[in-house]
């Protein structure tokens, strides 16, 4: 499908990745418009449920992104997030979601350039693997 534009839901932490996205914007960097940013106070508050809902609603990919390990504004929220993503990455492939559809990254507040790069990479990867099964099939 040539005109396939993946939809990506990104849960980004207020202190690092959201700030990086802001920086990318104010620096006039361009990145794909496929990303729907949802600002959360910390990746540690992203319940696995949020990711599951997004994927079942037909998001082609979900990104969770926060501060680098050791830099969490709440000391250790990102370590907790990492365990939850590990859990989801164990469950989701068992029901047919490709590993690539869920990504965890650490993007610091000053990494505007890196933010734009990662968004481009993510869109390329998801464009390649195609539409999510949740979009194509009836989900009860």
């Amino acid at each position: 499908m040539e005109d396939f534009e993946p939809v990506i839901v990104a849960f980004v932490c207020n202190w690092c990745t959201y700030t990086a996205a802001d920086l990318a914007g104010t620096s006039r960097l361009s990145y794909p418009k496929n990303i729907r940013l949802i600002r959360v106070m910390c990746t540690g508050m992203v319940d696995p449920q949020y990711v599951i809902k997004a994927l079942l609603e037909g998001a082609d990919g979900v990104l969770v992104s926060g501060c680098h390990p050791g830099d969490c504004h709440y000391i250790n929220g990102n370590y907790k997030a990492r365990r939850r993503i590990k859990l989801l990455k164990t469950i989701l492939p068992q029901i047919g979601f490709e590993q690539e559809r869920l990504k965890l990254t650490w993007i610091g507040a000053s990494d505007g350039i890196r933010f734009a790069e990662i968004m481009r990479e993510l869109v390329d990867q998801l464009t390649e693997i195609g539409q999510s099964q949740a979009k194509l099939k009836m989900v009860i």
Partner: protein
């Protein structure tokens, strides 16, 4: 440190012997009540009960192939605060393992509790059990025990164990039981093995003046064989279930009968939230929202959010799943919930090197973290 003791079986009657053992425990000065499965006086069915009057112990029936509810949740109600009195609880291994998970979440205490584990001979599905007692109104438990312990198999009266029991590799009480009652691989016409596993267990057994015995090679062989058989069934179940749910379309078919009654959540001993998000008004969507969803694909199955519910529960509780099978038991539409849960849980638990119910010293994986772990999960 465990001591191996025995009680002699009176008149070759195992049930009567066990009842007498429970009576002796209940009559100990510091024990106010015993929590144990009872055959109800008003109907030929089994439910756990809190017994304070030893005369009513003649209806105690811990080996009936009935498992209407996992006692861990009930025990959590009995122990969440101190009552000032001590109780003993007779539990199946999966009940103890589920209670261990609740203890980790501080939803129960062992301060005033003596846990008595009993070798589990398995149980039928609820509906099968009702058929079984209807056919065998008298001495149904005896029929079942004889059939299992004499090696004739678990199919008593043409009815077989629930799939959860057939796949259960933990027929023996876990190590945190204070006392463990051994039946498998024991000559139960003559004696029952009593293991005192903790100092509290030792103390009680000392007062009962039980004679010592040795664990025999027969017991070890019998238990090992049973576990091997169960593991074989389990692994076959894992493989079959994996094939049945390995994409969203198949999982949708697997759960097609679900009416979002959430019985599986209520029956689950380790679904630990005090208030589940699925019964809050978070999912009472705006009527316009349902129409919007319906228009997207031309159809919306109602009630909606069925898959969302089950996958969320897998994420929230599969780590603590002990495989007791109450979810399947509680399903009004015969969805094989246990098979799905255990299959997914096998991977989630092993991803964290965790085994639900194994030890109180292992914290629930999502309650802790290490700084240098799972580095491959995050892209750098």
């Amino acid at each position: 440190m465990a001591s191996n003791l025995k009680i002699d079986v009176q008149d070759k009657d195992l049930l009567v012997t066990l009842r007498e053992f429970f009576r002796l425990i209940l009559e100990q000065e510091d024990i106010s009540a015993i929590f144990v499965s009872q055959r109800l006086p008003m109907k030929n069915t089994i439910m756990p009960a809190l017994v304070t009057d030893s005369k009513t112990l003649d209806r105690t029936d811990p080996l009936a192939p009935a498992f209407p509810i996992n006692g861990a949740k009930l025990l959590s109600r009995l122990t969440r605060k101190s009552s000032g009195e001590k109780i003993a609880a007779v539990l199946r291994p999966c009940e103890i393992r589920a209670f261990t998970e609740l203890l980790k979440l501080k939803q129960g205490k062992t301060d005033d509790l003596i846990i008595i584990g009993i070798d589990c001979l398995g149980a039928f599905r609820n509906t099968d059990y009702f058929r079984f007692v209807e056919k065998n109104p008298e001495r149904s438990t005896e029929l079942f025990i004889d059939s299992v312990l004499s090696g004739k198999g678990t199919t008593a009266g043409g009815i077989d164990l629930a799939p959860a029991c057939k796949a259960c590799e933990f027929p023996i009480a876990p190590n945190n039981a204070d006392i463990s009652i051994g039946l498998i691989g024991i000559d139960v016409k003559n004696q029952v093995l009593i293991e005192a596993r903790t100092s509290a267990g030792e103390e009680i057994c000392k007062k009962l003046n039980l004679s010592e015995t040795k664990k025999t090679a027969e017991r070890k062989t019998a238990v090992d064989n049973l576990v091997a058989q169960r593991i074989e069934y389990r692994d076959k179940m894992f493989a079959e279930t994996r094939d049945t749910v390995d994409n969203l379309e198949k999982l949708t078919a697997y759960l097609a009968g679900c009416i979002n009654c959430y019985n599986c959540r209520v029956a689950c001993p380790v679904c630990y939230c005090k208030e589940c998000v699925f019964v809050t008004d978070v999912f009472y969507h705006e009527p316009s929202q349902y129409l919007h969803w319906a228009k997207r694909k031309g159809i919306l199955k109602m009630p909606s959010d069925t898959l969302f519910y089950h996958i969320t529960r897998l994420a929230h509780s599969s780590m603590a799943c002990v495989g007791c099978g109450q979810c399947s038991n509680a399903c009004p539409n015969e969805i094989s919930v246990m098979e799905l849960f255990r299959t997914v849980a096998e991977k989630t638990q092993s991803a964290f090197g965790y085994e639900a119910g194994r030890s109180l010293d292992e914290p629930p994986p999502l309650s802790v973290f290490e700084k240098d772990e799972f580095l491959e999960v995050a892209q750098t």
